[in-house]
Amino acid sequence: MDLNLTPEELAFQQEVRETLRSSIPADIKRKVDLGLKLVKDDYVTWQRILNDLGWVAPGWPKEYGGTGWSPVRRFLYEEELAAASSPRLITFGLKMLGPVLIEFGTEEQKAHYLPRILSSEDWWCQGFSEPGAGSDLASLTTRAERDGDHYVVNGQKTWTTLAQYADWIFCLVRTSTEGKKQQGISFLLIDMKTPGVTVRPIQTLDGGREINDVFLENVRVPVENLVGKENDGWTIAKFLLGHERFGIAGVARSKKQMERVREIAAKETKRGRPLIEDRQFRESIARVEIELAALEMTELRLLSEEAAGRKPGPESSILKLKGTQVQQAITELLLEAVGNRAHVFDAGILEDEWPGADNDGPDLPEYAATVASHYFNWRKASIYGGSNEIQRTIIAKAILGL
């Protein structure tokens, strides 16, 4: 156990830091620093820059365009990415479908889709949840029926993040009602331009429109778009949800956000002194820092053990659960930091149709404009990707043997 960087790791860190900081476009960096809304072009522009560097999918095997970095290097890279104010990379292609295709895809599928994910030519979204299938995902009812060399898909997917930008959607569909409900599920790739696919935005409580309903009506999907075997989709879904452990805890971003808490607390005042000098606020910071440090060290321990040959276990549930708790605690700290300025509704960050979006923009510091909406928005983190209650049940069953 050694927390010091080796000379090679230091050199790597330095190289990554300089490269990322000199590569990120100033307008994108500004949006990220202030928590402003990013549009499709921002994400694509940045991911293409990272792809040109060869760093957009560090977790993929080298032969498919990954980096082959050690866990420590990946950790350092994630830190520098956050420190450079990188937008979140869109995970659906890079961290979900990519690894699935590498593990389960045919050679043709890999050759066709993987390079298009790396280059951001295809924007993917995830078609898992349905109105009647949330935590109980296996009860999904979207049907895919075979008709010659096509599947005909009917049903509804929901909570589909950024479906409005997507070229493709990977879906869990029911191909059989025989046996256990997990057994009749298949994993299908669907072109969003296919007739019968309709996207309807869902307005969220923060004023955003990042999630959608996706309706599928008699959508004809070529059979070669099936990944893995028919009725074997549940295995793939489990792989997808448990595979990507790197960054799932969001440690690097949380560290960056804690810097933001301190910066804001240095500007805000309480009783005539900077808020950062307030004892109660400093203790609140210290409490979150303890959890963040514990989470970071736990992540590094788990990943290092894995790299040393231990099989990946259900511990990713700890990272997801604790990671989202810390992230949410930070959104509360930010909210506390801005005090009564939290009230103000800033039109600049909202979708056009939101009531009040036509105001001229209130006179308040830029840093205060987004903290309330961020706090509201981030309640999603403990719900998506297997709610925290589901994670607890996984830990209880798979680790504690209950």
Binding site: M1, D2, L3, N4, L5, T6, E9, V72, F75, R262, A266, I276, E277, R279, R282, E283, I285, A286, R287, E289, I290, E291, A293, A294, L295, M297, T298, L300, R301, L303, S304, E305, A308, I318, L321, K322, E389, R392, T393, I395, A396, I399, L400, G401, L402
Partner: protein
């Protein structure tokens, strides 16, 4: 960077876990507690044979080397075994004080005796008014000829009653809470004027209150520098705080495991209690808090051996604050989930709970360390 244990460290862990599993159950512990001095001398000799007492002592000074991480591994196992032997007072506190502070001509001899199991130590730093502040020292040492005469009183010095030598903080200059002017003296337990009132602690260990009345020591009794003892005391206590956090993690893991096992067995409403999701999720919380404490304890241990004092101090406070808060949660939950059996003396659960509670009250409780971390925030910005 590297976050895994070396083969040697894994060997220490396996050996210690095996020892406490096979040779140290609750009945053994009760027998040891009932012995003269509150622990077992034969077991102490076994610790010495296994090389545990030589940990953290450099090889050229009669030890086996290793540092805080190796000690944390051992402390974690001792937490799981609820050991009552004076490892914390003699090796963690006493050994560190000698290694960092003893004069060169006596250091090797003292450390060799410690490693052989022939020297028991205690560190008396707390006073009635001091709470957890190491600089709040009213005990006075005045220069007298080529030595010092010490007057004052100390409280809750771990294993003081069985110690051969006791390290005592005393003020050689300055006011009661000054940071400067504190000196650490190593005093023979049988020194005239020194009396120890020895008592059992609620968690099954022993401690003592000291009265010092005109205790005369030579200049060679000074550990570290005259007037500069606070820095040494702080570094030793930071290390001890990190290591008891590891001990706490070991106790938490045992308590969580024991609770899970008990709830798999215990049937109510026609099925095991462990089937109820309301209880499963509470045990999940216990498990996670244990893992998080363990992580912080190891991080703090690694940093204690590094160059960066500020980082070491911060990590130590983080680990100790977490150990206090998580220990309280896990202890209370374990008792609750055991139901009536949880409040009996018969089951191990209560003994772990008491030890975890007293760990919180050692070297600063979670409120104390949060306070310290809040102070450090100023220097961060």
């Amino acid at each position: 960077m590297n976050f895994t244990f070396s083969d040697e460290q894994l060997l220490i862990r396996d050996m210690a876990e095996r020892f406490f599993r096979d040779e140290y159950d609750l009945e053994t512990r009760r027998k040891h507690q009932a012995k003269d001095g509150g622990f077992c001398r034969e077991t102490w000799a076994q610790f010495a044979e296994m090389g545990w007492l030589a940990l953290g002592i450099p090889e050229d000074l009669g030890g086996v080397g290793g540092g805080a991480v190796e000690m944390a591994i051992l402390m974690e196992a001792m937490g799981g075994g609820l050991a009552v032997e004076p490892f914390l007072s003699t090796v963690v506190l006493g050994g560190s004080l000698l290694r960092e502070g003893a004069a060169e001509d006596v250091r090797e001899e003292l450390l060799s005796r410690l490693a052989a199991g022939e020297l028991l130590l205690s560190f008396a730093y707390a006073e009635a008014q001091s709470r957890y502040d190491l600089n709040d020292v009213a005990t006075r040492a005045r220069a007298d000829g080529d030595g010092y005469v010490i007057d004052g009183a100390k409280i809750v010095a771990l294993h003081a009653g069985t110690a051969d030598k006791i390290a005592v903080t005393a003020r050689t200059s300055g006011e009661d809470r000054d940071r400067d002017g504190i000196t650490i003296f190593l005093i023979d337990a049988d020194a005239p004027g020194l009396s120890v009132r020895d008592y059992p602690t609620v968690d099954g260990l022993r401690a003592g209150d000291l009265a010092l009345e005109g205790v005369r020591v030579g200049a060679d009794a000074v550990l570290g520098s005259v007037g500069g003892g606070l820095e040494l005391a702080e570094s030793v206590v930071d290390r001890a705080a990190a290591l008891v956090a590891a001990e706490a993690a070991g106790a938490m893991a045992a308590l969580t495991r024991g609770t899970v096992d008990y709830l798999k067995e215990r049937k109510q409403f026609g099925r095991p209690l462990g089937d109820f999701q309301a209880l499963q999720h509470r045990m999940t919380e216990m498990y996670m808090e244990t893992e998080l404490t363990r992580s912080l304890a190891y991080m703090a241990a690694v940093l204690q051996d590094g160059e960066d004092r500020a980082a070491a101090r911060r990590a130590s406070s983080q680990a100790k604050a977490k150990a206090g808060q998580a220990g309280r949660l896990i202890g209370q939950e374990a008792v609750q989930l055991h139901g009536g059996m949880g409040v009996t003396d018969e089951m191990p659960v209560g003994h772990y709970f008491k030890r975890l509670t007293m760990i919180d009250h050692s070297f600063g409780d979670s409120a104390h360390h949060l306070d310290r971390l809040a102070d450090m925030e100023i220097s961060v910005t």
